[in-house]
Amino acid sequence: MKRLRRAVLLLACVLAACFPSPAFAQEEETVPLTGEKIYVYNWGEYIADGKDGSLDINTEFTRRTGIEVDYSTFDTNESLYSKLVSGGASYDVIIPSDYMVSKMINEGMLEKLDFSNIPNYQYIDEQYRNLSYDPTNEYSVPYTWGLVGIFYNKQYVTETVDSWDILWDEKYAGKILMFDNPRDAFGIAQKKLGLSFNSTDEDEWIQAAVQLKEQKPLVQAYVMDQIFNKMESGEAWLAPYYAGDAALLVEENENIGFAIPTKQGTNFFVDAMCIPKGCRNKSGAEAYINFLCDPEIAAANMEYIGYSTPESAAKELLPEEVVNNPIYYPPQEIIDNSEVFIDLPEETALQLDSLWAEVKMGGPGDSMTLVLTLAGFLALYLAVVIYKKVKRNREC
């Protein structure tokens, strides 16, 4: 969902003409096609594809290795997951987000990577390795990362924004937006209470739900991509969102500021490259992952997609205004104080789902009401049928 915005982001990057593409290694020879092919499945608009003067990553890979790339895209982690589970297709490289990586590891859906085929893994900074979704870092290589923070309208919100509590401030009733997805919405309540995102304690989730129910009367709407419009037009004043995705909002609109609550901590999200079980060309897939980790390639790619790279070596190749922008690369202390989502056990996931529905419905429902409603309709139906029959009999 959040990726939809990327297309616009890219376009604006080009309009601003702020990132001229570095001249690329044309000196290398073109390798003839080997007849090998790999199938890559990635988020939409999440790779430099040669548009607007960027480097066409997939073509460049084919040129250097002779391996062809069959590239297709998905729009949510869940659709990627359901496609793999249903066995309808097989891929060699996939790029899911953190919690989905851990879910797939838990369900045995990923191949272990052979890191001797991925020498460029050495460029991945230490702090992005062995993250809790893949604690021993055997299955995944980080592709991009980012943080969740608060966007605010400087005209109306004049105080310092440094805490999630501001999203509960009655002064801003009706001007607050919230995530329309349970994990992110609960995450904010959890950090406000000082709890972990990945808690399995029922009470902690209920406490977070209580917070969200308290907040609901103040919330204008639960939205995802719509925050861009609503923040730009001044319809809403405060909205939590993904930093990388929304950097454009701040760049284009001087009234909008961005802050990350440092003390309470925030969500640190990573999208990582993995190889699913059932892949047909593992060595080709590893070559592809290795290629994407090449600092030069990574830098060219990040310039285009507008996300943050986990490689210092790639960061050095990026324009200074990007590297110095705290939205893309926030200070270390903020990163240290953040937490990654990992997969929740099934019970907790079910609890989260019902609590979220409860928050959005304004109260818990019960089976009795539903059964009575259905029974009511059925009774009405029978009544009509019987009435008609009686009437017909009388007429005869």
């Binding site: 997805n181 319809e235 409603t373 139906y381 009509v384 008609k388």
Partner: protein, 272 residues
């Protein structure tokens, strides 16, 4: 025999793309993630009773408004000159040329607190109204999006209505009100029934309208199902169970509507 042969492609199509998926929905609804039989999913649907009630209520409300607004429109169109009729019908269809997501999006900018309508009100010195993110906004969106489905079947029945029947009633001394209540209205019932069905069914199961105009706080059944299949809740078994209950609900509603449709119906407007 010949008719059978001609209908074969459609029957095959129906079997593969309608019957099989419905069986799959039923299968998923009664199994857990490991494929073992369970009734848990159906039991879990109960917790969403509020969402069902709200969807039925909002769906019924928009159907009623569509009928109240659409009936006179269809009546007027069917009683204008033939040349005019085609123009008017085209005007009714015109919004449907545009993607419905876009139309809903347009309503969002109209109804917002800092939207067009509120700015107009403020410009003429009237107080601003809070419209977006309310149930009213959802109903407005649904009526706007689905009203052509009410007008078209009504119009097709009314335009086929034999004028001599009305003339006969008038000749026999019925006044305007009587002619309408005893002749026009009963004869247009098939159109009313199919209009109600065609507006009610999509309204009850709509999902994007409630999301865009209802602010996410006015969850409807469609949103719930969307959440289970493509959202972070990801639970196709529960999603299937919700769909199954929704299907049963709609089936019962259509059964009720069908009961009102027998006997006098010959005009043919039932488009199930």
């Amino acid at each position: 025999m010949k008719a059978k042969a001609v209908s074969a492609p459609y029957l095959v199509w129906m079997a593969i793309f309608i019957i099989v998926p419905m069986l799959l929905v039923a299968y998923f609804a009664f199994t857990d993630s490991n494929g073992a039989f369970t009734l848990d999913n159906l039991a879990r649907v109960g917790q969403y009773s509020n969402v069902f009630l709200r969807s039925i209520w909002l769906g019924a409300l928009s159907t009623a408004i569509s009928l109240l607004v659409g009936y006179p429109v269809a009546y007027i169109i069917s009683h204008s000159s033939l040349k005019r009729q085609s123009v008017l019908i085209m005007l009714v269809m015109l919004p449907m040329w545009m993607n419905f997501l876009l139309r809903t999006y347009a309503w969002m900018t109209l109804l917002e607190d800092s939207g067009l309508i509120n700015n107009l009100l403020a410009a003429v010195g009237l107080p601003r109204l809070h419209m977006i993110n309310t149930q009213g906004a959802v109903v407005v969106g649904m009526v706007y999006d689905y009203i052509p489905f009410m007008i078209l079947p009504l119009y097709s029945v009314m335009s086929k209505l034999d004028p001599s029947v009305v003339e006969a009633a008038q000749d026999l001394g019925a006044d305007g009100k009587r002619v309408f209540l005893r002749v026009t209205l009963p004869l247009s019932m098939p159109g009313v029934i199919s209009g109600i069905t065609m507006v009610f069914v999509p309204s009850v199961s709509t999902f994007i309208i409630s999301k865009m105009l209802g602010g996410g706080g006015n969850l409807m059944i469609g949103d719930l199902i969307d959440m289970q299949f493509l959202g972070s809740a990801y639970n196709p078994n529960l999603g299937s169970a919700i769909s199954l209950v929704l299907m049963v609900l709609i089936l019962i509603c259509m059964g009720i509507m069908n009961e009102f449709d027998d006997g006098e119906a010959q005009g043919g407007g039932m488009m199930l």
